[in-house]
């Protein structure tokens, strides 16, 4: 694991609803605790992580949410404006461009443009010499990758763009970013999955696409929200019998909940086994959090689990 967090850039991927942001933040806590200045980047235009940590507004602002742990929520519009300021260097010209309706149409309609500038900002955050004025460098940048489409798509955007542009500044930058992203010494990829059939399949697809399209390995798979294995098969039989004999509504409800949990936990274990067999490697397991909300305390607990497991 230490090798994963020793990289400069880690993408946390996974479909919507699997707890990707939670894992990205918990991973960030581990890295920060180990002394790395770390930033978790959200690209979904929601500042979920800052809100979960009560950390203030992170819309295109780097805010510190714990010791050595920062977060930023990147949106394409701001990323584009910043990109132009850096590219053009002459502020009035940059403002002219980003303020122009024609340019906005161009930016919206050019396919892949928002992904490209978002990746540009991610890349900028990884630089030792930050281009943003007054910004300091980070040891590690963790990206909470977007849930839309396949996780690989946004990572492939720089190359796609470079191919489309062929020559010129955009093409050069696209290639430079692509080379950084596809350097396994520099970039790591973590997949988050739920122990259910579809997320497991998607994780395996992701691994194949990552290898095929970017030549990158999947560094870690984190299985999130595992139910505790409270009851074994023999106990299940005992519980089933007890349910047949029970009359009191409360006892019946509790027994049904226990049997249900046993079934779900067993189904989850089957999916984890299938995943691990296909991966040929162990997955990192995180427990289901039986709390109404995930706040700083729960992040702390999850990060401790991660630190041990990794």
């Amino acid at each position: 694991m230490s090798t994963l967090l020793d990289k400069r850039l880690v993408f946390v991927t996974g479909k919507g609803g699997v707890g990707k942001s939670t894992v990205a933040a918990a991973l960030g806590m581990v890295a920060a605790r180990q002394g790395r200045r770390t930033i978790v980047v959200e690209v979904s235009e929601q500042d979920r992580i800052a809100r979960a940590f009560h950390g203030g507004d992170s819309h295109f602002r780097e805010v510190e949410i714990a010791d050595g742990l920062w977060t930023i929520s990147v949106d394409p519009q701001h990323a584009l404006e910043e990109y132009l300021r850096i590219q053009i260097r002459v502020k009035p010209l940059a403002d002219l461009l980003s303020g122009s309706r024609m340019f906005q149409y161009f930016a919206v309609a050019t396919p892949g443009m928002s992904e490209m500038v978002t990746m540009g900002k991610v890349w900028e955050l990884t630089q030792m010499q930050r281009r943003t004025r007054g910004a300091s460098r980070y040891d590690l940048v963790i990206v909470d990758a977007p849930a839309t489409g396949h996780g690989v798509a946004i990572m492939r955007t720089p190359l796609t763009f470079a191919n489309v542009a062929r020559v010129g500044p955009v093409a050069q930058q696209g290639r430079a970013i692509h080379e950084t992203i596809t350097d396994a010494r520099h970039t790591g990829v973590v997949a988050v999955a739920l122990p259910e059939e579809m997320p497991v399949n998607e994780t395996l697809t992701l691994r194949d696409e990552l290898r095929r399209e970017l030549g990158l390995p999947l560094d870690r798979v984190i299985v999130n929200a595992l139910y505790p294995e409270r009851f074994g098969p023999r106990q299940a039989t005992t519980l089933t019998k007890a349910l047949e004999g029970a009359d009191a509504p409360l006892a019946r409800a509790a027994l049904r909940a226990a049997l249900s949990e046993q079934r779900r936990a067993r189904g989850q274990r089957e999916q984890v086994a299938r995943l691990e067999e296909a991966l040929g490697d162990e997955a990192v397991r995180l427990p289901y959090v039986f709390e109404p909300e995930i706040g700083p305390e729960q992040f702390e607990a999850l990060s401790r689990e991660l630190e041990v497991a990794l």
């Binding site: 479909k15 919507g16 609803g17 235009e45 053009i88 010209l93 002219l96 461009l97 122009s100 024609m102 340019f103 149409y105 161009f106 919206v108 309609a109 050019t110 396919p111 892949g112 977007p146 849930a147 839309t148 489409g149 798509a153 492939r156 955007t157 796609t160 489309v164 542009a165 062929r166 020559v167 010129g168 500044p169 955009v170 259910e196 059939e197 399949n201 409270r230 106990q235 519980l239 019998k241 007890a242 004999g245 029970a246 509504p249 409360l250 006892a251 409800a253 509790a254 027994l255 049904r256 909940a257 226990a258 249900s260 949990e261 779900r264 189904g267 039986f290 709390e291 109404p292 909300e293």
Partner: protein, 381 residues
């Protein structure tokens, strides 16, 4: 809410919501239920789980709906009075079809389909799923004789991206900006003024000349289809605003999906779109509020060993916690929407990946609130 009532006399239903909440299975169960009641229904799915896709016969290619084998429903205890058709959207192919349909001649068609930029991007483009989903819906409505179309929407970053995707495309193609873009130094450039010419030259500095020229060629050939795109966008809008179209939101009872559902609903309201109700999936149903773990353990001690009884009680406490959380989130949703048109589906023990699983969900969706409460009490926990 009984989904059958919510969809009475409807021709199109669009199921929206965030990713990972079971939108595809809910869409399929809704389509199945309406078909069982005698309609000819097509469900358009975006990215179904493989086993569910297989069980619906969706492994076939073609980007067109296929009838689902009626024998499958009988086996699952569903009396199928109508027909269920299903298809999996192929975004790239749908986009190609639109171009084929709208191109004024074969030359323009081939020019676009073989354009480097088009080929590189029409598949991977963000937003192309949104555009093609709406476009396909329109084609299905126009070319087929389905009584009801059920659309499972792509998981969008911006909840309503897919609604205005056709408008955004035509807005760009028609805009003065594009005209300038195509002829930056020509007549159009002069009437728009000096500022735009400058914008163009700055843009050149950023992107390089090649990209701009390639894009010009691409947009110029696409420009020949402007009228077609415009007409299509208008027709899609007309379909969305049709009184026979409605939206159902699908969510799970966790905080974030509920937040998203509220946001989505707000957007629908702002856009004056019709709204039919909310399906809340995977609900932990509270059977014994305020149960004391010690009392639970005490009641079980006759049947179970003390340690097993304690474990059952501890498990029940965790379950109750989720049930309370779900109830609080659902209440927040109902209050925020000021709407009680909810259909709650319990958290089932197994993943849903076949017709039998859909049939199980379908029972909860197509029940009155009272029937559903009774079924929940019987089957959950």
């Amino acid at each position: 809410m009984n989904v059958a009532d919510a969809l009475k006399d409807k021709r199109v239903v669009i199921c929206g919501g965030s990713g990972g909440v079971g939108k595809t299975t809910a869409s399929a169960a809704i389509a199945m239920g309406m078909a069982a009641r005698g309609l000819k229904v097509a469900v358009v799915t975006i990215d179904p789980a493989k086993r569910l896709a297989n069980s619906l016969g969706l492994d076939e290619l073609g980007n067109e709906p296929h009838p689902v084998d009626p024998g499958l429903f009988e086996a699952a205890g569903i009396e199928m009075k109508g027909e269920l058709w299903a298809m999996m959207l192929d975004a790239k192919r749908t986009f190609d079809e639109v171009i084929e349909r709208l191109a004024p001649d074969e030359e323009t068609r081939d020019e676009i389909l073989e354009n480097r930029i088009y080929k590189e991007l029409s598949n991977a483009v963000a937003g192309s799923q949104e555009y093609t989903a709406m476009s396909k819906l329109y084609d299905l409505d126009r070319d087929h004789d389905f009584d009801l179309l059920v659309l499972d929407t792509p998981p969008s970053r911006n909840a309503l991206d897919f609604l205005d995707a056709p408008d955004r495309l035509t807005g760009f193609l028609e805009g003065r900006a594009l005209q300038v873009f195509l002829k930056p130094t020509g007549f159009a450039g002069r009437i728009v003024g000096r500022g735009t010419g400058m914008v163009f030259s700055v843009l050149k500095r950023v992107t390089g000349v090649d990209l701009l020229e390639d894009l010009s060629v691409f947009f110029r050939s696409l420009g020949g289809l402007i009228d077609g795109f415009r007409e299509r966008a208008d027709q899609v809008n007309a379909l969305l605003e049709d009184p026979q179209t409605t939206f159902l939101l699908v969510t799970s009872p966790e905080r974030e999906p509920i937040d998203e559902a509220i946001y989505f609903w707000q957007k629908l309201r702002d856009a004056e779109m019709p709204f039919g109700g909310v399906v809340v999936n995977r609900v932990h149903h509270d059977e014994a509020p305020d149960a004391d773990p010690d009392e639970v353990a005490a009641q079980l001690e006759d049947e179970l060993s003390p340690s097993l009884a304690r474990k059952v009680a501890a498990n029940f406490r965790d379950y109750q916690l989720l049930a309370h959380r779900d109830a609080a989130n659902i209440e927040r949703l109902a209050q925020r929407l000021d709407d009680r048109r909810l259909a709650l589906v319990p958290h089932l023990d197994d993943d849903v990946h076949d017709i039998a699983g859909l049939a199980q969900i379908h029972r909860f969706l197509f029940a009155s609130d009272r029937e559903r409460a009774r079924m929940l009490a019987e089957t959950t926990a």
